[in-house]
């Protein structure tokens, strides 16, 4: 049983990568938080969500937002501070949102986003419309007390929420093992009696399968679930942060790239040939070029807007 269209998954991952590569070439708008290496988590997770569901994330939100279907040109404009952004360029990196698209939003306070998501899940529960919430956070967030408080309350109230830890094994420069004295991060959910599983976050089909299981559990009203996806961070913490790993380490990491891996699998099983793959890459690049053109054409907000939408 497949839970995700394999070619569609590749297309989505290629689009995210192309988007972030294009964004990384723009230096004028401060730093960006890119998710290269984590595309399979975003795409696999989102394949399990329906239109009535909401996704929330931490600051590293580009991949998830795009996977969720937020228009790339609006994301690009937002990240470049332009009025055409989904939040008129004022949220920017770490804070963008598009609830209409099922992306309730990023919130860049590590751990601080988790209880917000549980609140959205409580609203879903009270609405009784079958909608659920997925909240994506990093391994770094697992040290934060906000996670513990929220896991407990979500379990107690059987909130319809899926906690997804994208464990890229780093919080800025700090290795997951140096920060967290737990065997699997999903143990944190298991302690509260939740459905809990740790999967390979570099395998988009594996993530999709686990996410579907978890979502079914949550949607059936059996309470929250905790899915840990172990992934890798192919870039430095932010586009301006110092890289702490050696070139050799980074090169080795590239061999685990989830996109490469999925593409190779599709080639191996004959689903795609070289030309088709190349065409998909070019399509992604073209789409992103359009997004960039839209963002570039969009104006900056005016200084007067600084006082709008405050209270």
């Amino acid at each position: 049983m497949t839970h995700i269209d394999p070619v569609g998954a590749l297309r989505a991952m290629l689009m995210i990568r192309a988007f972030e590569d294009a964004l990384a070439r723009r230096k004028e708008h401060g730093f960006q938080l890119l998710s290269s290496g984590e595309e399979a988590v975003a795409v696999g997770l989102v394949s399990a969500l329906g239109t009535g569901d909401q996704l929330l994330t931490g600051g590293r939100s580009i991949g998830p937002a795009l996977a969720r279907g937020v228009a790339p040109e609006r994301v690009m404009a937002e990240l470049l501070g332009k009025s055409g952004g989904m939040n008129q360029g004022r949220a920017g990196r770490g804070h963008m949102s598009d609830p209409q698209a099922g992306f309730f939003g990023a919130h860049a306070v590590v751990g601080g986003n988790i209880s917000i998501a549980a609140g959205v899940a409580m609203a879903r529960q009270l609405d009784g419309d079958g909608g659920i919430v997925a909240i994506l956070f990093g391994d770094g967030a697992c040290g934060a007390g906000a996670l513990h408080e929220t896991l407990n309350m979500a379990a107690q109230w059987k909130l319809p929420i899926l906690f997804v830890c994208n464990n890229n094994q780093l919080s800025v420069s700090t290795a997951r093992d140096a920060a967290l004295a737990v065997a699997n991060l999903s143990d944190l959910g298991a302690t509260f009696g939740m459905w809990a599983r740790t999967v390979d976050g570099l395998d988009v089909q594996g993530v999709a399968a686990a996410a579907h299981d978890a979502v079914r559990h949550v949607r059936d009203g059996l309470g929250p679930a905790f899915l840990e996806c172990t992934s890798i961070r192919l870039r430095s913490h932010s586009t301006t942060a110092r890289e702490t790993r050696s070139r050799a380490e980074l090169a080795e990491l590239q061999t685990h790239c989830p996109i490469r891996r999925h593409a190779a699998a599709l080639q191996a099983d004959g689903t795609l040939d070289d030309a088709q793959l190349e065409q998909m890459r070019q399509d992604a690049a073209t789409d992103i070029a359009h997004a960039m053109a839209y963002a570039e054409a969009s104006p900056y907000p005016t200084a007067q807007e600084a006082l709008r939408h405050v209270v």
Partner: protein, 329 residues
């Protein structure tokens, strides 16, 4: 009409006025919820939610674990997703534990979504000293006044507790609603018919001509007592209850100071970067500088020790002395 029609009044305790406001709003709007420690069957630490659990049940009134941070965060999320949660934080000192969700998320949500989302929630908490010691007695409302996107109110009477709570529960963004622990058992008249008290409107509690005394919350009672004391010396105080700290009603204060020519600000918290200081300087921007005295707690923690607590917190005789000294300037 030949005679001034006074609204019919019902006498009730402050805590009952809170309950009534919440009950009415929960009845009117099924999106209003209560979250907090011991707010359910127990009815709240000050019985301010007494009886509501029976009416509205466990879906809408939820006892929480001791987890102030997540409780405020969950409320903020629920608010952003269409509900109107009231969060009870037993002591204002522990509001700090939920500052992240309140200040870094809820207060900024409308702004960062360009108006797309907002967090209509009420954080109800209690301020001030009543023998509970260094970590359960603080008044930090001045900090909140400086946060763009937050509204802050602090009633001193049952009628205002009722009317401000109702307004808070209909507000489009996060509101911090502050009761003082000593007020819960105080009685007062509240209008029998539904009456909202708007934010940003101060109230003159006593008319006078010699000095303007501005305060809020429990210290209003101290202010009025002090006004009573100095009345015996022939000093006439105009006593203003701010009620709403953000937005501030400087019109009313400035109007009074124009008449009296003098200002005394009184609060239970620290005067440094305090409410009184802000009120005074905004007032003087309108009226020009006037003789002014600010009174607040001594610059020390508030002990549960009865002698030290009393020494730390303003009382009517000391305020009366300060009024006399201000008049003598």
């Amino acid at each position: 009409m030949l005679y001034e029609q006074k609204p019919a009044m019902a006498r009730m305790f402050f805590r009952e006025a809170v309950t009534r406001a919440v009950r009415e709003e929960m009845t009117l709007d099924p999106h209003v919820l209560i979250l907090g420690q011991d707010v359910g069957a127990f009815g709240g630490s000050y019985r301010e939610f007494d009886g509501l659990y029976k009416i509205f049940g466990p879906d809408r009134i939820r006892d929480t674990p001791v987890a102030e941070a997540a409780t405020i965060g969950i409320a903020a999320g629920a608010a952003a997703a269409g509900y109107r949660p009231l969060v009870s934080i037993t002591y204002m000192d522990f509001l700090m534990l939920g500052f992240d969700a309140l200040i870094n998320y809820a207060a900024k949500l409308r702004y960062k979504t360009a108006g797309g989302l907002s967090a209509p929630m009420v954080v109800k908490t209690t301020a001030g000293a009543q023998g509970q010691g260094v970590a359960h007695s603080q008044c930090i409302e001045a900090w909140l006044m400086s946060v763009p996107g937050l509204r802050v109110v602090a009633p001193s009477t049952p009628a205002d507790a009722y009317g401000l709570m109702k307004t808070a529960l209909r507000c489009d963004g996060p509101v911090v609603y502050i009761d003082h622990k000593r007020l819960f058992p105080t009685p007062g008249d509240t209008p029998v018919t539904e009456t909202l008290v708007p934010f940003g409107k101060a109230c003159i509690r006593r008319d006078g001509s010699d000095v303007t005394v501005v305060s809020h919350g429990y210290m209003m009672r101290v202010a009025l007592d002090a006004a009573q004391i100095v009345a015996q010396d022939g000093i006439s105080c105009d006593v203003i209850d701010l009620r709403s700290l953000a937005p501030l009603d400087i019109d009313t204060v400035a109007g009074s100071v124009e008449r009296t020519g003098r200002l005394l600000t009184l609060e239970e918290g620290q005067v440094v970067c305090g409410v009184g200081t802000e009120v005074a300087i905004q007032t003087f921007e309108r009226t020009g500088p006037k003789p002014w005295t600010r009174i607040g707690a001594l610059p020390a923690p508030v002990s549960s020790n009865p002698v030290l607590e009393a020494a730390c917190i303003p009382d009517a005789p000391r305020v009366a002395d300060a009024i006399r000294a201000l008049l003598a300037r």
